[in-house]
């Protein structure tokens, strides 16, 4: 891709510069991290905080599944259950999935992949992380306040959320602060992509991960303020008694749902788009060939961002909307499936005539395609109006969005972690153990969520503490699946944590990738490049592998 030789895996020598983990320090100890404006360090900060919140979210999910292993009370009271599923949702959405890829891997790799020394606004970037941590703690502070955490579900639907005695306001303020963190990250990335691309890196020479972050950035900037405004309206309503949403004051609770989903549906694309970008990075590397249909994948990201912003009311098909609104939102929902389908077909086509090796990251990418396809198809089912009426607010939906968010984005995050780990930390993990973890995660995932499709179609509503005996078998299988999944998580993270200290030193280009991050040492030096590269080739130009073998033969 550049003048730098990428064919050989050199030993990652740092030249005269120290890597970013050891570069000269301005502050001591932890302050060297939490006041650092280095995009790589901020990425690592996000990684640590995100995974901490993820662990908390997993524990809550585990407890929910345990409660649901059999009908009636198993381990907790209904009030506790309602608070736990709310916290599980808030944490997983706002503190894990939304920052998961853009803030961690976007921060670390976007500047490197486009040949920049840092993001456009490094200090704003640090502020984003601070806002993220503060927002996260404000959201979680309700755990320790009298009344306990919110029991409203992460949707905070009015009027229940104004009637409950639990602490809804901290969660809303937390989400408000987190929103700014997300907006600033999006703004930073868009500016970085517009202004800081290396010489020669035209728009269509950008890696697809950068394209997906660009699309995501626009959604972050345009959609997130709406959730902030909605919160301000809730505050005005509560403090001044102005009836906006609360029917007791003459307000309209449906307006709240519209405003909530105008943000929260595009937020779904903030979660999935970067994961699609990661998959577009991983597959060419381990198939050792150029991506199939580069432009179609790039444009489809933009199409998803655009159409995805216009389908929010499909979360509200049962509230009683006009027939015109119903068919319009249904049709748009179906149309947004097309760019996603295009991506899937192009990824599969990229495997054709490749030279494929099933490293851990590739396994996660293939699992992503499988899970995301199931998530997508079950999404089509919900887009069909007559069918939506039946499965709306059942466990079918729970299964669907876990297939997209966890089976898709979650597996995308794990794939990114295994793909870029040696680059980020300069160490290699045990690949065999990583593959074993993958098997547990894949099987556990299917067992955990697939039965919920069946139970949902049979009429199992969601957010239920207890259920009718006829649903027992599906809940039982699901809970067993959660144990297998968690075993996989423990194996995976233990393996990575051990590798941090004891892993073999990683070479600069362990997988044979050609995007810019593989041309610099592992771990990268401060400000990434000794000399800003000049980009001449396409982002996924693997023709040298054809030539290389030709010479050998």
């Amino acid at each position: 891709m550049t003048a730098i030789n990428v064919h050989t895996g050199d030993n990652g020598s740092n030249g005269n510069h120290l890597d970013y983990l050891h570069s000269p320090k301005k502050y001591k100890g932890i302050f060297n991290w939490i006041f650092s404006t280095d995009h790589k360090k901020i990425g690592i900060l996000y990684l640590i905080s995100m995974l901490t919140f993820f662990a908390v979210g997993v524990v809550f999910g585990f407890l929910m599944r345990l409660e649901l292993i059999s009908p009636g009370k198993t381990i907790m009271e209904p009030q506790t259950y309602n608070q736990i599923f709310t916290l599980h949702g808030v944490i997983m959405i706002f503190l894990f999935i939304i920052p998961g890829l853009p803030a961690v891997f976007g921060n670390f790799f976007l500047p490197i992949m486009i040949g920049a020394k840092d993001v456009a606004f490094p200090r704003l970037n640090l502020l984003s992380w601070w806002l993220f941590v503060i927002g996260g703690f404000v959201a979680l502070i309700s755990l320790f306040l009298p009344g306990g955490p919110a029991d409203t579900g992460w949707t905070f639907y009015i009027p229940y959320s104004v009637r409950t005695s639990t602490n809804v306001i901290p969660a809303l303020i937390g989400a408000f602060i987190l929103g700014f963190s997300s907006i600033l990250t999006g703004l930073n990335f868009i500016t970085t992509i517009h202004r800081l691309r290396a010489p020669g890196m035209s728009w269509f020479k950008m890696p697809l991960f950068a394209w997906s972050l660009y699309a995501t950035g626009w959604v972050q900037i345009l959609a997130t303020p709406i959730v902030g405004i909605t919160l301000l309206l809730v505050a005005i309503e509560r403090w001044f008694g102005v009836g906006i949403f609360d029917p007791a004051l003459g307000g309209d609770p449906i307006v709240y749902q519209h405003l909530f989903w105008i943000y929260s549906h595009p937020a779904v694309y903030i979660m999935i788009l970067p994961a699609m970008g990661v998959i577009s990075e991983i597959i060419p590397v381990y198939a050792r060939r150029t991506i199939f249909g580069y432009k179609f994948i790039a444009y489809s990201s933009m199409a998803i961002a655009l159409f995805g912003s216009l389908v929010w009311a499909h979360h509200m098909f049962t509230v009683g909307m006009s027939n015109t609104a119903m068919w319009l939102f249904s049709l748009l929902t179906f149309l947004v499936a097309i760019p996603s389908a295009i991506k899937v077909f192009n990824w599969v086509a990229t495997l054709y005539k490749g030279s494929i090796v099933l490293e851990p990251a590739m396994l996660f990418a293939l699992a992503f395609i499988f899970n995301f396809t199931i998530g997508g198809f079950t999404g089509l089912m919900q887009g069909a109006l007559a069918l939506n009426i039946h499965i709306h607010d059942t466990s079918f939906i729970v299964a669907h969005f876990h297939y997209v968010m966890f089976g898709g984005t979650g597996f995308g995050i794990f794939g990114a972690l295994h793909h870029w780990f040696p680059k980020m930390f300069g160490r290699m993990y045990n690949k065999k153990v990583a593959k074993i973890a993958w098997v547990f995660l894949f099987i556990g995932f299917q067992l955990l969520y697939f039965p919920l499709f069946i139970a949902g179609y049979l009429g199992m509503p969601r957010r239920y503490y207890d259920y009718l005996p006829e649903f027992h078998i599906w809940h039982f299988i699901s809970t067993v699946g959660s144990w297998i999944l968690i075993t996989g998580l423990i194996i995976m993270f233990t393996n990575l944590i051990i590798a941090l200290r004891k892993g073999e030193k990683a070479v600069a280009n362990p997988w044979g990738g050609v995007t810019l991050e593989w041309t610099i040492p592992s771990p990268p030096i401060h400000e990434n490049f000794e000399k800003i590269p000049v980009v001449e080739k396409d982002p996924y130009d693997y023709t040298h592998y054809e030539e290389l073998e030709e010479v050998k033969n």
Binding site: Y157, G250, F292, M381, G383, I389
Partner: protein, 208 residues
Amino acid sequence: MLSDASNFIKEVDGVFLFILGISLALLILITILMILFVIKFNRKRNPRPKNIKGNTTLEIIWTVIPTILVVGMFYYGWYGYKKMTAAPKDAFEINVNGKMWAWEFIYPNGKKTDTLVVPIQKPIKLNLKSLDVNHSLYIPAFRIKKDVIPNKDNSLWFIANEAGVYDIACAEYCGLRHSYMYSKLYAIHQNEFDKWYNSKTDTTLTKK
């Protein structure tokens, strides 16, 4: 599936099976192709990759075919839904109050019950009212559901085709006892219904 409990089963299960069929075919195709490619183009077997940048004909094919399929799915779903919104004028109307955490059914003659009793083979329209927070009236066996929202006049209608007892659930989260907000629907013959409807007691059927 494909029972005949209500007049909407055919539409809902029909569109489900339609999308399920297409989805399964495509999922199997995608999965088999992935596995096949991974085996056939394994690095040991195929050390020399071929850089194919794309194929516009293929892109057009796999854009146009899914578009046709999803528009078909959209129309099928819309067609069934339209029927759900068109309650016949002569439908028997029952008012429903949803409150934390119980249902109350009020008949035209003033009869109040906590379970829903309806005659079979007759259009029934439920006028939904919430006395507190959002609820959602859901009869899984009939494939129908509608949110029950304060200050909003929602309604749904159905025809119970077969006599029987069915569950009524609350599908919109409403707090502590949301998962216990169940009631029953008794679909009975018209003459039996008339007898029940004109009697003074509410509970004849609930005790059955």
